[in-house]
Symmetry: D4
Subunit: 211 residues, 8 copies
Amino acid sequence: MTAVNKWMIDPNDAVMLLVDHQSGLFQLVRDIDLPTLRHHVCALAKLSRLAKLPTFTTASVPDGPNGPLIPEIHQYNPEAVYIPRTGQINAWDNPKWVEAIEKTKRKTLLIAGTLTSVCMAFPTLSALVAGYKVFCIIDASGNWSKMATDITVARIVQAGAVPIDTNAVLSELTNTWNRPDAMEFAQVSMDHVVLPYRCLMESYDKAQSVQ
Amino acid sequence: MTAVNKWMIDPNDAVMLLVDHQSGLFQLVRDIDLPTLRHHVCALAKLSRLAKLPTFTTASVPDGPNGPLIPEIHQYNPEAVYIPRTGQINAWDNPKWVEAIEKTKRKTLLIAGTLTSVCMAFPTLSALVAGYKVFCIIDASGNWSKMATDITVARIVQAGAVPIDTNAVLSELTNTWNRPDAMEFAQVSMDHVVLPYRCLMESYDKAQSVQ
Amino acid sequence: MTAVNKWMIDPNDAVMLLVDHQSGLFQLVRDIDLPTLRHHVCALAKLSRLAKLPTFTTASVPDGPNGPLIPEIHQYNPEAVYIPRTGQINAWDNPKWVEAIEKTKRKTLLIAGTLTSVCMAFPTLSALVAGYKVFCIIDASGNWSKMATDITVARIVQAGAVPIDTNAVLSELTNTWNRPDAMEFAQVSMDHVVLPYRCLMESYDKAQSVQ
Amino acid sequence: MTAVNKWMIDPNDAVMLLVDHQSGLFQLVRDIDLPTLRHHVCALAKLSRLAKLPTFTTASVPDGPNGPLIPEIHQYNPEAVYIPRTGQINAWDNPKWVEAIEKTKRKTLLIAGTLTSVCMAFPTLSALVAGYKVFCIIDASGNWSKMATDITVARIVQAGAVPIDTNAVLSELTNTWNRPDAMEFAQVSMDHVVLPYRCLMESYDKAQSVQ
Amino acid sequence: MTAVNKWMIDPNDAVMLLVDHQSGLFQLVRDIDLPTLRHHVCALAKLSRLAKLPTFTTASVPDGPNGPLIPEIHQYNPEAVYIPRTGQINAWDNPKWVEAIEKTKRKTLLIAGTLTSVCMAFPTLSALVAGYKVFCIIDASGNWSKMATDITVARIVQAGAVPIDTNAVLSELTNTWNRPDAMEFAQVSMDHVVLPYRCLMESYDKAQSVQ
Amino acid sequence: MTAVNKWMIDPNDAVMLLVDHQSGLFQLVRDIDLPTLRHHVCALAKLSRLAKLPTFTTASVPDGPNGPLIPEIHQYNPEAVYIPRTGQINAWDNPKWVEAIEKTKRKTLLIAGTLTSVCMAFPTLSALVAGYKVFCIIDASGNWSKMATDITVARIVQAGAVPIDTNAVLSELTNTWNRPDAMEFAQVSMDHVVLPYRCLMESYDKAQSVQ
Amino acid sequence: MTAVNKWMIDPNDAVMLLVDHQSGLFQLVRDIDLPTLRHHVCALAKLSRLAKLPTFTTASVPDGPNGPLIPEIHQYNPEAVYIPRTGQINAWDNPKWVEAIEKTKRKTLLIAGTLTSVCMAFPTLSALVAGYKVFCIIDASGNWSKMATDITVARIVQAGAVPIDTNAVLSELTNTWNRPDAMEFAQVSMDHVVLPYRCLMESYDKAQSVQ
Amino acid sequence: MTAVNKWMIDPNDAVMLLVDHQSGLFQLVRDIDLPTLRHHVCALAKLSRLAKLPTFTTASVPDGPNGPLIPEIHQYNPEAVYIPRTGQINAWDNPKWVEAIEKTKRKTLLIAGTLTSVCMAFPTLSALVAGYKVFCIIDASGNWSKMATDITVARIVQAGAVPIDTNAVLSELTNTWNRPDAMEFAQVSMDHVVLPYRCLMESYDKAQSVQ
């Protein structure tokens, strides 16, 4: 896959942005089951490390009722850089956020944010206007209502962002099974994305062993 | 956030249009829970006042079975101007409606209307043709069937209107938490939009107080 | 409303096309409740007569298990012209069908057809290529699965057809309440489209009478 | 209605028990929309005061993550008595709880508790064994999954408790409209239980006023 | 079928009770689609006449926002007797209601009432205590929430009432196709209960005619 | 498993009753997907032959729009005996039906019938009164609405019939895997009941073969 | 809580039975999300060890496509005893299974089994007949269809088993927070049962730390 | 229908691509019922043979837990060519795959693949960039979550692929009923796509025979 497929992720040009995945905001999520959302965010944290993507996180007033970022993000990707907000609602309104991204020289943004309608959508729209190629990871964001998610997907697609799901992100970042760390990517999938795959493995191993 | 982000609301250029939120028409709504719809409309009324948006309301034959406008709209925004219709189905067919909007010199319309398929969609399409930038607040409108809402969202997006939800509207109008009236915007969110947030605050306050 | 609003129906330029609303095919419908579908088709039949739209119907092998057209269509609009198919799947492949439409000199097509994926979608796509403006009445068609309907709506929107629901069609054809036959249009709505409206009227009349 | 209808509530023999309606536990609720649950609990608080029912509340470790009782309960019924738990999971295992109920000399318990499976169900089962007549207010409790609620309803019915909803409780406590405070009961219904009723009133008042 | 099958309706011993099927209360119904509910009530009205069942109706404050009884009931069964309430919530608390039923000397009650939780359930529970055999027509009542309907079904079954649906009522009242008026019963089914049957007839008639 | 477990099927005492599984009535089914229903009925036909159960079928006016019995029943169990109805709605009202069952000397009835509310429920209730032990195979019947099925399950359970699903029937009739024809039972399961099992087998066989 | 509450679990008299939680059978589950089911089974394994319950597992042909037991069961409770089946469908038909249970001298069985309709239900029914008190853990079993689960719950309740959910089991086994290992039970809840509780803890800890 | 309708399939220019329809991957599918998916894939296999479309299949590590291709594909279309992958995730990254397609000289691709988000979407996006016209058969692919399918449909439509369902594919490939093998296409529909059609035929044949 060449780096110029305009519709797909070039892992060498990508930046991972994880916005406001906070314990309090998580409680407001109504478009996806909370443990599933948590798993998907963990997946993105692990993937960003495996794929060596510059990764930036931020949180909205984490000292207040919104709560702190879930710990797994920085735990699974110690290289991720936390950039505090200073009152902005739209992360893109924070100069430090934009600077950090510009410094990477990369032009592909992978973004997930809680709540989808605001913290995923606003930076997306701003980044599109600023010329970036943006992928919105809808099922790793979490929104306050299902209707709001359908509305938001239509909105970001209209503006030119690519809607994507966590499994597709994982697969595009893995890119090929012919890589030495293929199994690490596969493990992320089994642990956090396509969890029922574990049963396939258990059945398979047993079937082989009883021969 | 600059005023020229084509995909987002410029509060200084916006007009709030609330069409036919009437007690009888509300009874026909099947795409969203009625108390939720009522809350969202209240939120828009309060937000339009807080953000000082010129606000216009209208009703379809309120003296008949469609019923009167719900009282909270003008109660929460006494500055809102009611422009009666004179037989038009499409509010945009009412010269006084169009005049009032033109007088504001603003080119961004935020519109919600019951029923979504007709009273939100028709003025939207007419306004787009007239060169306005239009945001359709889908979850503050209310439609006669869920299928009709999906159809209508596809229709207005095709025509170039931006589909948006009440929480995104609130956040774009708030724009930043660094403003003296930030808490008033937050209160609207807690009272009318993201109601579960109240539990987050109660838990937070208690956790701090028991230290 | 001027006739040049590209996104809306010009009743003076419209033709109503009702394709394959047959008793057997109706039994295959899984995306909308059957009595509701039947009502919507009845509405379109009555509306086409009230709005004096040239109306054409067709059926797919009505002498076979697909069954006959439901009788209300020609009963409610005796002016509707039935054009038999001769083995074509896509009604637009039938020269007589295309001729009949061309003879009207009208360029706006309102189409509903069972099953949506095929009998509404195929003539739609052909007509778009032939330069017509097409409105697809999704909730008066009826499809073999909900997933297929979502897929089909995306497909015809991509091609440039306007997705629309029966209530919006009714309202665009009515155009204004300031017309002598306004109540006939309203009656269609109450009888076939927004059935709960009847309760609003009954409550209203009683409330007034007990004063 | 005589007090001896074994299947219905005798307001003169009833005690209201509100268990663990706490801001943190509320966040775990997945079987009913949270604002709706909150409204129903408020309704019970107001009703218990209007119907002069001895009312007892308790909370599970409110100083911890479970959070404090929502304030409206004691705000709307200042007579309600809070009885702290001391480590018991089943409120009925707390001697003070049982004592307080016994002191009322009443044998009919109306109970709602978060989470339904545990905090509503356990005291219910214990109370039944102790000879009380118990009504479980399912839609004012709140449970961790819908499946768990179906299971719990089957469980408490099997044991002999009466499953009931908030509107039925309100109606049984009101008992008749021929009472001086009838409107206060009606107001509770409109404010917290059958919220769409407000639209009926607005339409009615307007219909009468335009005569 | 003998009249002594304890689990089934004896048409010669049955009384039809239709409680509060009012235009305003209908607007509060959330457990069944409103046109469907209306159809089912019409079916019961027609069936009670065809089966010559003593039929009693009542309404709750029909001069207020609850609205009037839907007209079809007395229109389809002119023999039905309307017994006004005088402030009672539970119809069984109205002596005239009980008297009228006692006068029939029949012991089997078929009851439907809006809202199910209150107006169908309360008279049911009272009648059971008074020794009647009661059938609750759940899908011809209409309730304020689906959860409340599940709760109410469990409640009345626990007390010994038989839960039943409109089609079963129709079939038990028809009892056999070997009766001169069999087609009238079948017509009720096609018009108001199993509406898709009409398509079966149309297909059948056509299939036979094209031979 | 002894024959005296009152809650389970004794294959040596069981009779299979398949009522009205007709092509027209199938079109009215709304509580289960039609191909799934058809599969379950096929399963019962095959099982009744494998388990050598006396099997009786009947149909309601198969020469009319209700249509003929689906052919697979008698095709898969040529021993099944068809007993025509003569105008009875309740199959149990047909003396020949009752006779045929009595002649078997068996007291356990397994019954499935379209529509569930009537053709499964009525003979069930009559049979219970006549002293039979009855198992209602709910997911092999097919009903006109989901609500009607919930109602009917509650009704037959109240009367003492055992509600059961097709997979449980298959497993009880198989009784043990230690029987020479075990694989025939397993094949029925894979072909008609738990269809996804086929994928498990394919994966298993392949896993073993690649060792 | 005394040990004689007939409706609740006496931890000192309970035995945990986990039947057929196999990787292949898990793939057939359609009534609950697979990761959730897996979590619940893990919870039961951990709980049985914490509460020192005699625990027995079995599997149906684990060397075949049904696959092996998921490893966590015996991993989390090394004391659990695996009792192979020898062709029986109903685990209770296996003399060794019954013996093992009898040897414990305990009379309360907690059972979960895949698939619910068969592997949870059959041993339940047999055990009830044998005089045991049985609790069916519905949401830790897993069934081939949702309809089959509703049917099965009705079936086992009819026979006298107590339907219960995993959170209620956890709470009854914990019994009181005043026990030295309380936190171990709480950890099971947070890790496997009420997963969103983790967010409550994270918010709480942070709120306290920022004081 | 001319071959140049840009929105529709030209059967003479089409290639069928069936990607990773493997027994293990099928177990991960959550957006469509598995037997239905299997039927749709069988339909495509039969259709590709009937319409003489060059057909290519591939599988992802079929010797591992993903399992083998379901056998019906090559069984129903012996002409289909299997092209193994060699570690690529995106089939389009496999030079042999691309070569095989290029050799056909056809430019219209019909693609279905498990899982939709990855194995249907990635080759689609690559093929679009390479200048092909691509039709994505959404309901013959199978995805790991419904949300992921909605996201993926939006994604491929944005890129210019045509979303299509199996019934539309069948109808476009059949093209007209005036062809000697029309009944073979109809049989595929009845056997694998619109299964309820079988009931229509049975009713029709019987209705004609009883005349």
